[in-house]
């Protein structure tokens, strides 16, 4: 599914990613943990094609295809989805219209027929119900006036509708109460299959109790310094990053 080899990236002159090696096989959920400023969000942005980061070296293959050569919209059509840590507000853009435009763009790229407003609303309402979101969230402007939790749920709604092959969740759990956290985890778990993988960036073990990862990686200073099974997350929760970082140094 995803093969990252020696990936380096900088913003301006400042190197952020200093050689990432990471493979996420089909059907697996990998967690990325690490202290603030270690490059976790940058990794998500670089994988989804944000152009203020410059890739200075390495390669990323997605289903065997060079991901770095693709525009953001082509990556989305190929099946990459980034759930933003701070979802962007789009004043003047109706949420339902936004979601339908995105879904139809991806359907078009796959050679599928576009959905009309009625067909779309039927699907969208089923998902909002499943995610315990009020119906009026479809009528409002994208993320405008949404609470922190509503914004995160709106990201999960987008993911549920766009059905990516690879979801990158950038601290989607931050600012969520326990009920919302379960809903988010359920949303991801519902997508889990042989053809779905996820990279879950988080600071907390809590999310991983509901969304159990196959592997946990610790990212520090732009490199993966340790990898392990789900037990690594529990260890980090108990003793912090200090030990891991010392070991790695």
């Amino acid at each position: 599914m995803l093969e990252i080899r020696g990936l380096t990236a900088s913003i301006g002159d400042k190197p952020i990613l200093k050689g990432i090696d990471l493979t996420v096989p089909d059907g697996e959920v990998h967690a990325i943990m690490g202290p603030n400023g270690s490059g976790k969000s940058t990794l998500g942005y670089v994988l989804s094609g944000r152009d203020d980061y410059t890739v200075t070296g390495g390669s990323v293959l997605f289903d065997g295809v060079d991901l770095l050569d693709m525009k953001p919209e082509q990556r989305a059509a190929a099946g990459v989805f980034l759930a933003f840590q701070a979802p962007i507000e789009l004043p003047g853009v109706n949420n339902a219209n936004f979601l339908r435009t995105a879904l139809n763009a991806i359907r078009r790229a796959h050679g599928e027929s576009e959905l009309d407003a009625m067909q779309f609303l039927k699907i969208a309402r089923a998902e909002t119900k499943r995610l315990a979101m009020p119906d009026d969230m479809l009528k409002r402007n994208v993320n405008v006036g949404f609470s922190g939790g509503e914004k995160k749920r709106n990201e999960v709604l987008q993911m549920a509708l766009l059905r990516p092959k690879l979801a990158i969740l950038d601290e989607t759990d931050s600012g969520l109460d326990i009920d919302a956290l379960k809903i988010v985890a359920d949303g991801v778990n519902a997508l889990r299959s042989d053809t779905f993988s996820a990279l879950v960036v988080t600071h907390h073990q809590r999310l991983l109790d509901y969304l159990v990862p196959n592997r946990v990686h610790v990212l520090a200073h732009g490199r993966i310094v340790r990898s392990g099974g789900p037990e690594l997350a529990r260890e980090l929760e108990k003793s912090g990053y200090a030990n891991v970082l010392t070991e790695a140094a």
Binding site: S48, G49, R50, D51, D52, K71, P72, E73, R75, A76, A77, F81, L82, F84, P87, I88, L90, P91, G92, V93, F98, T101, A102, L103, A105, I106, A109, Q158, L162
Partner: protein, 395 residues
Amino acid sequence: MSAIAQTGAAGFLACFDALKDALPGDPIVRQRAAASFRALGLPGGTSARRAEAWKYTSLRPVAETAFMTPVAHGLSIDLSASTATCSRFAATPDFGALPRPDRDPMVALNTMLAEDGAILHVPAETDAGLVRIESHGNGPTAFHPRHAIHLEAGATLIVLETATGNGSYLHNAVTEITIGAGAHLTHIRLQDESPDSFHFATIYADVAEGGTYDGFSLVLGARIARTEIHARLVGENGVAHMNGVQLLTGNQHADFSSVVRHDAPHGTSRQTVKNVLAGRSRGVFQGRIEVARHAQKTDGYQMNQALLISQDAEIDSKPELEIFADDVKCSHGATVGELDAEQLFYLRSRGVPDSEARAMLVRAFLTEALDLVTNEPIRDVLGQRIDAWWERQAA
């Protein structure tokens, strides 16, 4: 009547001298207007110096163009969806009480040479539906329509004005509007003139107690355009909305100038003018809110925003507040920017292609100004024009 080729203020005055005996209406009003026009001249027409009201807009290209006057121009008034009564200025010439030819050169020019126009009247407590006024200019002509819209107490009317044409012509309209107590006028203007034309529209609107003026202008066409609105809230609880969208490209210059005068307590004025500027175009916004000493509890809001989609485009913005009452709420602001890179990336990361994402963000930028247009068919027409404009830019 014979056609006369003319240039500059002197040309228009010569034309008036030749035609004055044949023009309809009070000759004294015309003579006075001619005297004012002689004194005021075309702003920037012969020298770079011009009045503060025309600070950002020079009419030198107008002064240098020869127009034929008079030529019957295409003015059609469609009353099929309205019960308003309509007469033509040519038949019942009335210059009205609000326009100020003594102050505004283009109003003086219009008063001097106006031949025709639509005069609409809606009796009290009547919903008179929708009137369409369509003008079609043909170069090289100058026409100066004189319109009036009068709503008695409790009346309702929607007016949709569309201006189109071919070639290099001058369209210089003056409109007087009176809105009676509790009456409501929705005044939608679609300016889609020829790219070689000159378009000036000066609108005076008086709003009585509890009356509403909802004005919206979509400015797409003309080489030089100016929309000038003078709204006055003369009765308590009056409401004036003066929104606009200007979409400019090439060497277009469009000026949106307005003055809203709160002359009675508890008035509300709202104005959102959005500019999307491509090519080497130039947008101008001048907006003044005046609050008289006795107009307490006034609520005024004014916002002008520009989206520059080219390095060479330019916006001049001059919002002004002039407040003599002490218990009012007035705010204004102006922003200039480009499309937001984060918003664009967010849309693209969801699979929306770059060009479609940009179109969505431009439409979103315009939404606040367009929201005033609640009539769905009219809003659809405006939306289609906006989309078509954007597609031409993106192509």
